[in-house]
Subunit: 328 residues, 2 copies
Amino acid sequence: MTTRRLLLSLALLPAVLAASGEPDLPSWRDGASKQAIVDFVRDVTDEGSKNFVSPAERVAVFDNDGTLWSEQPLYFQAAFMLDRLKSVAAEHPEWKDNPAYPALVARDDAMLARIGMKPVLELLAVANTGMTTTEYAGTIRNWLRTAQHPRFKRPYPDLVYKPMQELLAYLREHGFETWIVSGGGIEFMRAWTDDAYDIPPERVVGSIAETHFELRGGEPVLVRDPNVAFVDDGPGKPVGIYRAIGRRPIAAFGNSDGDLQMLQYAAVGEGRRLAVIVHHDDTEREYAYDRESRIGRLDKALDEAKARKWVVVSMKDDWKQVFPWESP
Amino acid sequence: MTTRRLLLSLALLPAVLAASGEPDLPSWRDGASKQAIVDFVRDVTDEGSKNFVSPAERVAVFDNDGTLWSEQPLYFQAAFMLDRLKSVAAEHPEWKDNPAYPALVARDDAMLARIGMKPVLELLAVANTGMTTTEYAGTIRNWLRTAQHPRFKRPYPDLVYKPMQELLAYLREHGFETWIVSGGGIEFMRAWTDDAYDIPPERVVGSIAETHFELRGGEPVLVRDPNVAFVDDGPGKPVGIYRAIGRRPIAAFGNSDGDLQMLQYAAVGEGRRLAVIVHHDDTEREYAYDRESRIGRLDKALDEAKARKWVVVSMKDDWKQVFPWESP
């Protein structure tokens, strides 16, 4: 264990260095939410505290859509997949006679309901499979550079939350491992989470498409298949955490009912834990939605948060600034 | 990226410190195998080299059974599962009438062949499911403390290879991330890989049993189910690497045909890569087997190693010492 111990103690150096510099979490307003987070971190990192947690066990997990970046008016990965559908339509003249195609492109909910999920999923499968994982990652990166959010008229990666970027860095400076645990596809997130959050590919847990290995023209590649291998959402999130991390997190951050079981898994039990819900209540700077929303519905988890005294962050009141490019 | 850059440069400190101390890889005899490994590491870590690889991309993957510890006369996890079967037999009087039970316990191959796999797998499923992942991990740890290897009369974790422990540490000191990518079950490995190899749970990729989340008596737990979710063997290994790591390794270490696709995935392609096969040719200190063995068969991968000039390590000739407890 010697080398790792040494590395861990070295990893704490930035915290020591930071102590003399900037204040922590500059985009967070002083208040109960910020205080709860700072108190938790102080408690579990203080060797004299009865709640001290060794650095190896300081695992913090974050949902992505709606927790680290926006998810309205449509999950950004869904926007990507719709654009992908349109961009390959010319190669699929047979879609002319498939009612799922115009219904999807027009987002005609009534028509989609009549058609049912099966033809829709088949269409998306055709548009997103058969290529290598490397080719697909290139397509994603290209889209992230060029596509624009309909309201903010900016590339989607601009819609990350500055207070959450600060929180991720703050936790890492205090010896935490920060992980993304999201319902989104791993390949869609890995294309940009390293730049946006300083979270490398191996710390991204998400939904997984089947792939298979082959030697294509002598080159070893993984090729995307149409089936879904794993859905990292709802009760799937603790399973995804177990498979990828193998430790129970002591802190979890989410924003919707899809995060409920992850929050329970991290926060219910002995020892000091932290569960945080980002509540979208800021129509002016971002969006306001919860119990009735089709995207990112927050209903059961909001009840649970109240019952268990979890931290509910108000974007409107707790954050001085939402996006990195806004003036504070 | 600033914090991680700082951490990465700090992570290289041990290498600097080590430069003045012990020689590298003391249990390895000087020779072509050791030289090939040291040359590779020097080349990809030298900023002046055209083959320089940034620390973030220095991913090295290791098979476990037969590569990092022994696997004869029976995969150790199989030995655990047989013992597990016997230890819960009293709770299953119905097994009295099930021919799979005595056939398994006696390892009666002829009988097992007549019975077929289905009843055998069902029996093993019953014996290894229904409990929480935490309870199961406790069972594994208890077995690892008490069970003895039939030939060496020592606990199984004593049968790790000292030269490979040194190699893991050597790579980490040179900025590599070291990962286990094994056909074995993740929970079986995670119980001891941190102590044995300094490889924490989140760096263990393996085969996965289905689990589901539930609140059991108010406590959030994961419960083992009878189905297999993922087989991390053969062509499954590159898939497991993609899912868990999301980067292509530049170095891979294996010992059997089950590692062939992982070795190809890491080693075939542009840039400097390293593929190493541990060849069991040491009857006296360990075991000798390859093309004809039922456990850890090395046949196609040995041909491929010769064709592609991969490093084939002779346990007999290249290792001064095999196990940590032997005198060198």
